[in-house]
Symmetry: none
Subunit: 391 residues, 2 copies
């Protein structure tokens, strides 16, 4: 085992308003870092046994505290297999905050001075996590958005499709000289800087671990592409990556593939068994192999509403088909109106032609200085503008 640079143990600052006793500041003399190992233990107890200032990178996927109500059914009446595990349940926001403060403080002690931390979460918990880590003296470098290509829809039509999760990237302290592989990321991103919004599919298919009955082995397994992006960005070969909520072991599998060491902490024996097997099967690969396939390039969907929002067409503007036989008017919400019937450009286009379906973008025209132009031309204008941002 080699630890290139061990920082002094630094006292975690009192968090604002906290009255709890802080975790022990010194680790047992002679504590060692068990490399490429999963520690079966409660997260905080295990952290307190690890040597101070010993890891280069932390990736943490803590419980989200979802607070789900009753069952949720799809429109076809099938039931959504929700996260109903005990480990995600907390009695109150305050309990969740106490838990968050405890593990973040314990993790911080174990980090080298120049180490960074990644935490992933959703709106249920990420604000509490972010505020707490600021309180503890971490220094936020970026928040990063994992945009899902294939999120679960909102079945009731009561909210926006919850299509992303948030990662916080933070240094141990403001003056940390952290690792950021700027050039490598840029080279793997068509030679432009890597942005803070990442488009990556959910973990499904062969990558998703299954138990004996074909059910998912872990409810919230993260895609390897996500971890690969994280490790490629903020660690170097040979670094030690700590994951205090190891779960199905994605961090360990990707660390092994990319030539990093891992230390995992996990309480659940079933998860550990799956993770061990999975990591044993993983074989080291070149960096480029992991980076390349992650980003999915496809034509972004442009809402017709954006054409109106961006004032390329005014509300009330007249749309016609190529022969000007049908005439509809543009509404502020991006629907159009034919007679007194309101609907999308596609639905109304189909209706006008008496067809079951229609691509409104290539059916409807607008007048530009007396000349008839396809609204698809306006989409092209927006696409060009948006292209740099990726899907």
């Amino acid at each position: 085992m080699s630890i290139s640079r061990t920082g002094a143990a630094v006292a975690p600052r009192m968090s604002l308003g906290s009255k709890r006793t802080e975790p022990r500041l010194v680790s047992p003399a002679g504590a060692v870092l068990p490399l490429d190992t999963i520690i079966e233990s409660d997260c905080i107890a295990a952290l307190e046994r690890l040597p101070a200032g010993s890891v280069d990178l932390v990736f943490a996927d803590p419980p989200y505290n979802l607070q789900l109500g009753g069952d949720l059914h799809r429109p076809d009446n099938s039931m959504v297999d929700a996260v109903d595990d005990d480990w995600d349940k907390f009695a109150s926001l305050r309990d969740y905050d106490d838990f968050t403060r405890a593990w973040l403080a314990a993790v911080r002690r174990v980090m080298k001075p120049d180490a960074t931390l990644w935490v992933i979460g959703s709106y249920h918990n990420i604000f509490r996590v972010g505020a707490t880590l600021q309180d503890l003296g971490y220094w936020i470098l970026n928040d990063v958005v994992w945009r899902k290509t294939n999120p679960m829809p909102n079945f009731r039509g009561k909210r926006f499709t919850n299509a992303h999760e948030t990662l916080i990237w933070a240094a141990r302290e403001q003056r940390s000289r952290y690792t950021f592989n700027y050039e490598a990321l840029k080279a793997g991103n068509d030679d432009v800087q890597m942005r803070s919004d990442w488009l990556i599919p959910l973990c499904t298919g062969g990558e998703r671990l299954k138990d004996g009955d074909g059910r998912k082995a872990h409810p919230t397994q993260k895609p390897e592409a996500l971890l690969a992006r994280v490790l490629m960005a903020a660690s170097r070969p040979g670094d030690v990556v700590l994951d205090p909520f190891f779960g199905s072991g994605t961090t360990g599998a990707v660390a092994k593939k990319l030539g990093r060491h891992f230390v995992g902490i996990e309480r659940d024996r079933d998860y550990i068994a799956h993770a061990r097997e999975r990591i044993a099967l993983a074989s080291p690969v070149g960096d480029a192999d992991m980076l390349a396939p992650s980003e999915k390039r496809s034509e972004p969907r442009i809402p017709f509403a954006s054409v109106v929002e961006r004032a390329l067409l005014q509300p009330g503007a007249v749309l016609t088909d190529g022969n000007e036989r049908h005439q509809a008017r543009v509404r502020v919400d991006g629907s159009i109106m034919l007679g007194d019937i309101v609907g999308s450009i596609h639905k109304i286009g189909a209706l006008a032609q008496g067809l079951p379906a229609c691509n409104g973008w290539t059916f409807w025209h607008y007048k530009d200085n007396g000349k008839l132009r396809l609204i698809d031309d306006l989409r092209a204008v927006l696409r060009k503008e948006l292209a740099a941002a990726g899907g």
Copy 2:
């Protein structure tokens, strides 16, 4: 001035660990809501003068420069005298939290029970805002990511390009029955649900307000397309939209264009002057037909018993599912019978399929000249009649 529905003032919950006195819960008797007006005042002082339960929607773009001490509401100056950088940082975090709690609580008092709040921020402040609003009893509905097509690059190459900002959308309380124009958003988005990640350019070019010297009039002017998306999603024509940090007046300009009322609060006279001029130039969408949010027509409720009463189906008639696997018979009272079990079309439909619920209208069929038809078609017949009668 018309306020369609005024809710009772509800005491904000004590925030976790807060020792501050809460803002007054009752507004001055006879307080009025000055519609389509900018109030020149400190944010919190102005909010406390507005009537409780009076606005439908709030959009807030709070300051997040922690060094702007003047922008912060300091209830307690006892612990300044900072020497240590860290101490200073924590003192300012605490001040920022106090300020955030104060304005969020004051806003909450002014909201109608079913109103929602939007707050925009970056990683510097959004975690503190999000945690605080949860503490105050707001119920988060979504976090929304504004992806910028043209963000400022990271010049030093030390971080990811900060290419997004985060909006939090929250209801005043968990059980609020808030406005969400689901159908309108879907119609303007190629007939698929609107996601939580929005791709919108920065405010530049002609839209960007300039002062006499050609410099930008406001440092963080938000694009109108962003506000348009927000107002179209979560408000209705005629609603009152409050912006407690009015700035350059984007909220007011878009509200006017989209037929919503606004109330703005702003302290800076220059900003107010720019905003007034800008809003005066904005022209509302004149045609109400272009403005009303698309809806799936909310149709009158028809009891199945009416179908029998009107003899569209005879008592004893046979109903089947689409595959004719299940068979039930119509009873005089509008219930149906499967085997010897009697119940509503919904209950029996669910029972037949072994499902927890079922919409009987779209499950059961009848035979019309040997052809299977949905009983929903019969409902449509009655609805059409009802509409003709002016029902």
